[in-house]
Amino acid sequence: MKKIEVRELDLFYGEVQALKKINLDVEANSVLALIGPSGCGKSTFIRTLNRMNDLIEGVKINGTVLLDGQDLYKEVDVIELRKKVGMVFQKPNPFPMTVYDNVAYGPRIHGIKDKKKLNEIVEKSLKAAALWDEVKDRLHKSALSLSGGQQQRLCIARTLAVEPEVILMDEPTSALDPISTMKIEELIEELKNKYTIIIVTHNMQQAGRVSDYTAFFLNGELIESGPTDQVFYNPKDKRTEDYITGRFG
């Protein structure tokens, strides 16, 4: 089943075109990896899927993006959309609040006040993000006191607490050490049973390890996409092959 369908998507930052005629489908409950050199438009693309680009002045978008068959830019309310499509950023960005309040933030702004209910959500989300055991004794300490890896898993927990259907991850491990990276990769493996995940990564091995599908971007264009094995070992486009082999050295 297709969760997201992108059709003829163009994006401009003022005069500069950053995405050119992107066509891409994302299967439900799968992991899609976006790869490509820096500046090719991966972040820009992923941010069109929860309309984060709305926050940047001068951005113009043409084409359609469908989520469950509905046009994101015409038929869907942006707040409902972001509830459904969560996002984890490159640099861990916890709020300067307690661990608990970070996770409870989303449910609270969406109207959940009941203390017991919140406690449940916080515990469940932290467990799902494999962080519960490490923080259960310091739920009311500042989130900024956690290590970088813990902060990133907290951000994942915070995203899960809103119960999204899709999770976007923009290079979620690039600021982390190898052990934290491993933990997050394991987490992605578990999460994909319940969620549709789109992950931008610079790391070819990571793309190979965690993803079912891969899409290769270059200079704002989608060059090739398909099952990860096929894109990696049997690329159709010469540029894809160059990039992947170059990376694999």
Partner: protein
């Protein structure tokens, strides 16, 4: 959805505050300029005030304000710049640096009336100079030094380290690096800062009531003997400024047109501050452009 409604209401509220403030400022400025419009002429700006009769000007006060401003800058800019250089380039974390910082913060939020009283005690009474231009300038220096120090320190800190390294790599001493590379690079910020503080000095009154004094002997501009009481070059003469004059007119204005005179003086004061403000913006961006080479 309730959260969206709240969002709308909040947005409207923030716009309302912004619009209100801007309208308020515009009407305040236009009111002051409008009230003083008949006085914005050369005669009013240059002729001396009259006692008990109409038609006086603000010549000496305006001149005193400018002279005081210049003397204050001559004293406080070098010292403030020096202190700023020390804080940005030399100061090591420690008790002494903390003390200097605390002094800067304390002085910069010191009520100016207190500074005025300190000036009265030290620069007026202890020195025996009496109410004088120089006592006023020193009191204003106390007010201005912390600001100048901060401005210089901030501008110097924002100079990229690569410039310093480049200079050291050519074998410069630290002092040469500071004087020839760092301070020139920090100049746009420093000059903008100086002009903005100049506006503040120009409008200051509370610190001057009991230092530069509330009287102003007639000036004879052809008298260049610095020890004569009527010479503009005499820094030991009492020197009422424009800002002090406005305050005084309100409490003890004896001329029948005291109200108009104060209106005119307020308009002149406001105009000067606006000019300082615009000048600072313009000069700041021009110098910055020249330095970064995008003419």
């Amino acid at each position: 959805m309730k959260s969206k409604l709240y969002d709308k209401i909040a947005t409207i509220y923030f716009y309302a505050v912004a619009v209100f403030l801007i309208l308020f400022l515009v009407s305040l400025i236009s009111y002051i300029l409008y009230q003083g419009r008949t006085k914005l002429n050369i005669d009013f700006l240059t002729s001396p005030p009259k006692f008990m009769e109409a038609g006086g000007g603000i010549g000496p006060q305006l001149f005193n304000s400018l002279e005081l401003l210049i003397i204050t800058l001559i004293i406080s800019v070098p010292i403030g710049l020096g202190a700023g250089i020390y804080m940005a380039e030399y100061a090591k974390p420690g008790l002494l640096t903390e003390l200097i910082r605390l002094s800067v913060e304390t002085l910069s939020s010191m009520p100016s009336i207190v500074v005025g009283l300190f000036g009265l005690l030290v620069f007026v009474t202890m020195t025996g100079w009496g109410y004088s231009l120089i006592a006023g300038a020193l009191a204003l220096t106390v007010l201005n030094l912390p600001v100048m120090t901060r401005v210089s320190e901030d501008s110097i800190r924002s100079v990229p380290n690569s410039l310093r390294e480049a200079s050291y790599a050519l074998g410069s001493t630290k002092w040469q690096t500071i004087v020839k590379v760092v301070v020139p690079a920090a100049m746009p910020g420093i000059i903008t800062g100086i002009i903005l503080t100049a506006g503040r000095i120009f409008g200051e009154a509370a610190a001057l009531l009991y230092t530069a004094g509330m009287s102003s002997p007639a000036l004879n501009f052809s008298n260049l003997n610095p020890s004569s009481p009527t010479s503009p070059l005499n820094i030991f003469r009492p020197a009422e400024t424009l800002a002090v004059y406005i305050w005084k007119v309100n409490s003890e204005g004896l001329a029948p047109d005291a109200r108009q005179i104060a209106d005119g003086a307020a308009a002149v004061l406001l105009l000067m501050v606006l000019i300082f403000n615009i000048l600072a913006r313009w000069l700041g961006s021009t110098l910055y452009k020249r330095m970064t080479g995008e003419k």
